[in-house]
């Protein structure tokens, strides 16, 4: 851990990717939900909440399965390893008597967090004072070796520098390199490259920025409950750090290039991740596909405006009917080609691996998430709340629609007219337009119509989505010791072959 003031962050693979801001705990004016003196049981209860220990089964925590002598079969740093870490935290807490000062207790918690990150998770921690010294910032990075370890633990897939020599079909679609599991921590990393077809960025590390960030967040998210830290005011904010140089370079391209450019989408994905890249890919796709109907539609509209209604020819009828058919064809093709494009991206970015690997997610009609404590799949903890939210959201939407219709009836009953010259214009359409705009703008912000689930502190790593009709709660590669250990490949992979 380095202390002091650094204006220029070190470059290289150890560059920090995440920052935590701690408030100045010696500031007595802070309104924290912690009493002035903390009893032993209270201190333990708070620490359990902060370090996800209350999620573990009692037997796993109270009777340590891991001893100081490392067991060769120990699923290292897997979810079960949370128990290992927590055993140490509990062991240390057992010596903890009542804490007489709140400041001491806060210092203890922060000290434990830094110790955990640096010693147990083997991350590079840099503590700095912010300008004005009102806060302390903790910058988190890791070495390449540490990233390799995380990749192995989290089952990130890599590419092997081997060319396929079987399966003609596979040859056609496969890139020059192949996917494989992350390297063994002791293996030579030069055989491995980045986990996507789009190639690696020119860096000393084999990991892209995106991979590093993802690995890092997943790594400490297993043992640290951010919600609790933030709710108790022990962390004022935490976020991923921008890489200014990369961002400016991306923005320069972004301003000049159309969103339909595949290379730009790759760049966006490398920096911001798949969700945002897919969003912009969809925007680009939609704009491209709207061009033709926009031009044709404007032509048809002008034609109907120019021609008086009293002289409607068969020719004009045919134009409108043809345009209707064109819109139907356009809407169908647009949806179809987007689906194809999305699948293409999904394959190119190796997103399919998640759905391939997590087979029990794919065919499970109910949502499940990986429980790090019990090492089994479980229903998400907010499942009950989700159903309730859905029900309330549906009721609110129905109520909103009814209100909307009522408002429309009210507006029409007013018979709003305005006379310009000799002609009278109906203002109801305009007022209805305002009403629709307001209603559609307000409802999404009511936050009930969309069931978002709990907001994850690290920003959607446990993103809700659907894979093959099943609701998938967790898509990012997560440690799955049951699969990892039972896999015959693993045994062979690690030397038995």
């Amino acid at each position: 851990m380095t202390e002091g003031r650094e204006d220029d962050l070190p470059l290289g693979p150890q560059v920090p990717y995440y920052a935590f801001y701690f408030p100045n705990i010696f500031d007595t004016t802070l309104n924290l939900p912690i009493p002035e003196s903390v009893s032993e049981s209270e201190a333990k209860a708070i620490c359990k909440r902060l370090f996800r220990m209350d999620e573990l089964p009692k037997d796993q925590v109270q009777s340590p399965v891991h001893t100081s002598q490392a067991d060769p079969k120990d699923p290292v740093q897997s979810p079960a390893d949370s128990a290992y870490i927590n055993t140490f935290i509990l062991a240390r807490l057992s010596t903890l008597g009542p804490v007489t000062s709140r400041t001491d207790f806060l210092a203890l918690c922060l000290g434990m967090l830094v110790w955990l990150m640096e010693k147990m998770l083997q991350l590079k921690v840099t503590l700095l004072r912010t300008t004005g010294e009102r806060e302390i910032v903790c910058l988190i990075g890791a070495s390449d070796r540490a990233y390799a370890r995380m990749a192995h633990i989290q089952k990130l897939r890599f590419r092997l520098d081997v060319k396929p020599d079987t399966e003609d079909a596979f040859k056609k679609v496969s890139p020059s390199t192949l996917l494989c599991r992350a390297p063994h921590p002791k293996s030579d990393l030069k055989h491995y490259t980045e986990d996507n077809i789009d190639g690696v960025e020119a860096a000393s590390s084999i990991f892209s920025q995106l991979s590093r960030l993802s690995l890092l967040i997943n790594h400490f998210d297993n043992v640290i409950c951010f919600h609790a830290w933030v709710n108790m005011g022990l962390i004022s904010t935490h976020f991923a750090l921008h890489d200014r140089k990369a961002l400016e370079s991306l923005y320069a391209k972004w301003k000049l290039t159309e969103l339909t450019d595949g290379n730009l989408i790759k760049e966006i994905r490398r920096y911001f991740g798949e969700l945002i890249a897919l969003y912009f890919a969809w925007l680009g796709h939609l704009q491209l596909w709207l061009l033709a109907p926009a031009v044709i539609g404007t032509g048809v509209w002008l034609l109907s405006r120019l021609n008086p209604q009293s002289h409607i020819s068969l020719y004009e009828k045919l134009i409108h009917i043809t345009f209707t058919a064109f819109i139907v064809v356009w809407a169908t093709l647009q949806g179809k080609f987007w689906l194809r494009r999305e699948k293409d991206f999904s394959w190119r970015w190796a997103l399919y691996q998640n759905s391939l690997k997590e087979t029990d997610y794919m065919f499970d009609s109910e949502s499940r998430e990986w429980d790090p404590a019990t090492a089994r799949m479980r229903k998400p903890r907010y499942e009950g709340k989700r159903t309730a939210k859905l029900a309330v959201g549906f009721a609110v939407t129905v109520l909103w629609a009814a209100l909307s219709l009522l408002a429309q009836a009210g507006i029409y009953s007013l018979d709003l007219w305005v006379q310009v010259g000799e002609r009278e214009y109906d203002l109801s359409g305009l007022v209805i337009g305002v009403q629709i705009c307001v209603f559609t703008k307000v409802v999404p912000h009511a936050d009930l119509r969309h069931n978002r689930g709990p907001v994850h502190p690290v920003g959607g790593l446990r993103h809700n989505c659907r894979v093959r009709g099943s609701h998938v709660q967790q898509v990012l590669p997560t440690p799955r010791p049951d699969l990892l250990l039972s896999s015959p490949v693993r045994g062979l992979c690690e030397g038995k072959g």
């Binding site: 100081s68 290292v76 921590p185």
Partner: protein, 252 residues
Amino acid sequence: MAFVKVRASQAYQGKCYESNCLLELNWLLLSLFALQFVFKLAEIVWLFLSHFLKQQHKLQELGPNAPSYEQDKYLNAQVLSFSTYCDLIMNYGYAALFAAGCPVIVLLVLLLTAVQARLDVWRLVRLSRRSGPKTFSSWAGANNFINLLAVLGTMTNPGIIIFSSPYFYDSGEWKLFIFVAIEHCHFLLKILLENTISDEAESKLYSVVRMGKQWCDLKEMELCARLSKPATSPTRQDYDLPTLDPSDKGNF
């Protein structure tokens, strides 16, 4: 809406404005989109005033040599909201459902989408913190909704032309027959297209990827053997992790 109108308004007495419901739909959609542009403009002004200028002010307070991690702190936490995406899909829905009634709205949807895209880029780069990596494989829910809109479009578009426009006023009782015929033709055309341009390529790709994955596993085994990995599973030492003693109750 027409159903509500003819019952609520005394002046219309069961008729559309100037007995032309298509004109009324045009008027409604155009005013709706004009208002959307006004809302968008207001959003840009609001973002500029409430976020951009505020951030600039804070950065000036920090000084010109403020480290990047401190600059990032003053950026917005929320990157892109789901409501933005909903707005875009709704606009697409207007185009897919009512383009036959007001063909020019497709152009307006295009303009709105282009404005939204540029606004999002600016917001993402200049106003927002870096988002955590959000990995997922598909906009599956939204895709289903878009497909549903396309299906509904096969009915609404011919319906508008046949029942609401003046083009088929003289068709009398044949209107329903013409509508059913056109709607069925459209629906058949849609089904034909969907089956002709199938997902076969992607499905094949998917199965090939599955196949390839198995093949990779084999290759991986070979390579692992070649690299002469240790015979045991990775241990704590392999990961260079400390082996701590739980009985050690020292300070940390």
